[in-house]
């Protein structure tokens, strides 16, 4: 596995060097004085959002590169299906009127996915075995509210039914910034697997009611750079817990209490990708710092079996971390894109009253996306893509007694078809995952 890590890292570096060929500024690039900017085919609220997120100001001069970046920002808005820029004559010679034509996504949307996960060993999740068929579906509405607000509400199921309500305020502080809030509630049961840093025992927690709240604020600092602050709180009433990789016959331990995760982070982002959901070109970088706090409740074994016979105490994990992420999307032909991505974090973790330990994690991936549509536009389907990926992740946690693991590695390969049109995003796929883990 270590050889694989080295090879993946070397390939990633080589790919990165190729992908990051020096871009030279165009000395003779034309600039345009934008006397007025008009957003066509949009309501006043949508027009105001598009204008603020473009970061273009009337009475300023812009190069074509700056206009292209502005167009990418508009196209990344989740409710924008397509957008185009056109320059027209202004009121005096040398002045231009920029027309931004926007085609909106439907206010009504459907999301669905169906994935067959195959594992290299027996995994105990909602079902126990070497395969798991996962289905999720959601329907919702999204529309503009007030001056520059966007409200959305939806219901869905990911093994359990949930409801979601969110609101995004654009044009924050008059800077093109935004603030987003999202609440999610589920009354029915589900099985949650927490991030390795939050639960190094790699357990599946059977929960009842669960609730999640997320807040995000983003402020642009230059045309492709922004600062983002996020906070997320997730809590659920735990009922039972069982190790993911334990003996299948061992009864799940009873759990009583609340498990929760609180995470706050502050990141610098650089984004030139052309699409928020299915990018085909561009670069995304982020660097930041954050705090993660996780609580897992006490659990008590049931009956007699080969599993742990002692109660597992409640546990609190606090981690302060630094994180880096990079994704590069390269269009290699008109219909094919290659993706290379790398995410990493390094943290100092304290579990209960134990001394702080260094923890780290790495996720590297290579992907390929092939458009199954011809180059001529099909207005009923925007995207029909065959996506293939290879992903490797490595996590190293603090040295804790069993059942905790100190290391967790995962190699995943998968493929699937993604369909997107103006009101739907549907995925069907299959993946195969092998795991490796170590104890102290």
């Amino acid at each position: 596995m270590k050889h694989l890590v080295c090879r993946l890292a070397a390939s990633g570096l080589a790919f990165w060097l190729v992908a990051s060929a020096p871009a030279v500024s165009a000395a003779e690039e034309a600039t345009f004085y934008l006397e007025t900017i008009e957003v066509d085919n949009a309501s006043p609220a949508i027009g105001a959002i598009v204008l603020s997120q473009s970061l273009l100001k009337e009475g300023s001069r812009y190069s074509e590169t700056e206009l292209r970046d502005a167009l990418s920002r508009v196209r990344r808005l989740p409710f924008v299906r397509d957008a185009e820029f056109a320059l027209h004559k202004g009121s005096s010679r040398g002045a231009y009127r920029l027309g931004i034509s926007v085609e909106r996504m439907s206010p009504f949307f459907v999301q669905g996915s169906s994935n067959l996960s195959l594992f290299g060993e027996t995994v105990r999740l909602r079902e126990t075995g070497q395969s798991l068929f996962d289905n999720s579906a959601a329907v919702g509405l999204r529309d503009s509210v007030g001056g520059q607000g966007m409200l959305f509400a939806g219901i869905g199921t990911t093994g359990s039914a949930y409801g979601e309500l969110g609101y995004t305020q654009y044009g924050l502080f008059g800077t093109g910034g935004y603030a987003a809030a999202d609440l999610q509630y589920s009354a029915s049961g589900n099985v949650l697997v927490l991030p390795f840093l939050a639960d190094p025992s790699l357990s599946g927690w059977e929960v009842g009611e669960s609730f999640a709240a997320r807040l995000a604020v983003g402020i642009p600092i230059r045309r492709n750079d922004s600062i983002r602050a996020r906070y997320a709180h997730i809590q659920a009433d735990a009922r039972a817990v069982a190790p993911l990789f334990g003996q299948p016959d061992t009864p799940a331990a009873n759990a009583s209490g609340r498990l929760s995760i609180d995470q706050a982070d502050l990141d610098w982002l650089y984004d030139t990708t052309d699409d928020a959901l299915l990018p085909t070109e561009g670069l995304f970088l982020s660097a930041g710092a954050g705090l993660l706090k996780a609580n897992t409740p006490e659990s008590f074994p049931v009956g007699v079996g080969p599993g742990p016979s002692l109660p597992s105490p409640a546990q609190t994990t606090n981690t302060a971390f630094l994180s880096l992420a990079a994704s590069r999307y390269l269009p290699v032909t008109d219909r094919q894109t290659v993706l290379a991505s790398l995410q990493s974090y390094a943290g100092r973790t304290r579990v209960d009253e134990r001394p702080r330990e260094t923890t780290l994690g790495l996720v590297g991936g290579l992907g390929h996306s092939l458009s199954l549509l011809s180059s001529s536009r099909n207005r009923d389907i925007d995207d029909l893509r065959l996506e293939t990926f290879l992903e490797y992740s490595y996590d190293r946690g603090p040295p804790l007694p069993p059942p905790a693991f100190t290391r967790f590695e995962r190699l995943r390969v998968g493929t699937g078809v993604v369909l997107r049109n103006r009101w739907a995003l549907l995925r069907v796929g299959v993946s195969y995952t092998v795991f490796d883990r170590g104890r102290r």
Partner: protein, 211 residues
């Protein structure tokens, strides 16, 4: 290996073409292979619309002779100037830049029809077997200027063309050069921005000796 297979499958499935009646013509002039691209490219509705945007539109030309392992590129940038209602064109071919201002769309079409694209490295045909010239024209919104030097930076990875009459060698050094070709092709096409429209043709290169 998986990536190479996926790219190959993608390329093989990438056979769709806009329905253009006209096709390019290739012939030898003064021992150089010259190509004319039909002006119907400009009449395509999508191309015509983006040409009117007042922002630069780039036409990327690729001429490939697979038998000679040859690939050459040229670029034409066009910007419609709303104030003068003129078309500012800038042509980069064979390492030379040529800029012109054309008074109308019709003048731009006529100018396009006069263009003779030279595949300067095309080696002479010495055998009876005919070689194919693959032509790709990609229409890319906005300027591709910043890609120029990156392309030039990578151009060293393209090897010298081989004689059209001799088939590619199997094994030995040939195996290495095939790998270099794949890398070169991957890199040079990787810099290309996603095209709005792509036109592809395959034409037979006429026999030079018989002319």
């Amino acid at each position: 290996v998986i990536l190479a297979v996926l790219l190959l499958v993608g390329e093989l499935s990438d056979g769709t073409q806009p329905g253009l009646q006209a096709s390019p013509r290739a012939n030898w002039e003064e021992a150089k292979l010259r190509v004319r691209i039909p002006s119907q490219v400009l009449l395509d509705a999508e191309v015509r619309r983006v040409l009117q945007s007042g922002l630069t539109v780039t036409f990327l030309f690729e001429f490939a002779i697979p038998r000679a392992r040859l690939e050459e590129h040229a670029r034409l940038e066009v910007r419609y100037e709303p104030w003068d209602e003129t078309y500012l064109v800038s042509l980069l071919s064979e390492g030379e830049r040529r800029s012109e201002t054309l008074a109308s769309f019709e003048a731009f079409v006529r100018w396009w029809e006069t263009l003779r694209w030279t595949v300067s490295s095309a080696p002479p045909l010495v055998s009876a077997g005919r070689a194919e010239l693959k032509i790709t024209v990609s229409v890319v919104p906005f300027s591709a200027t910043e890609e120029r030097d990156a392309r030039h930076w990578f151009a060293q990875s393209i090897e010298e063309p081989r004689d059209l009459g001799s088939p590619p060698a199997a094994g030995g050094p040939g195996a290495q050069s095939t790998r270099d070709d794949m890398l070169g092709a991957l890199i040079t096409t990787a810099i290309k921005r996603r095209a709005l429209r792509t036109f592809r043709w395959t034409v037979i290169i006429p026999d030079q000796e018989r002319r």
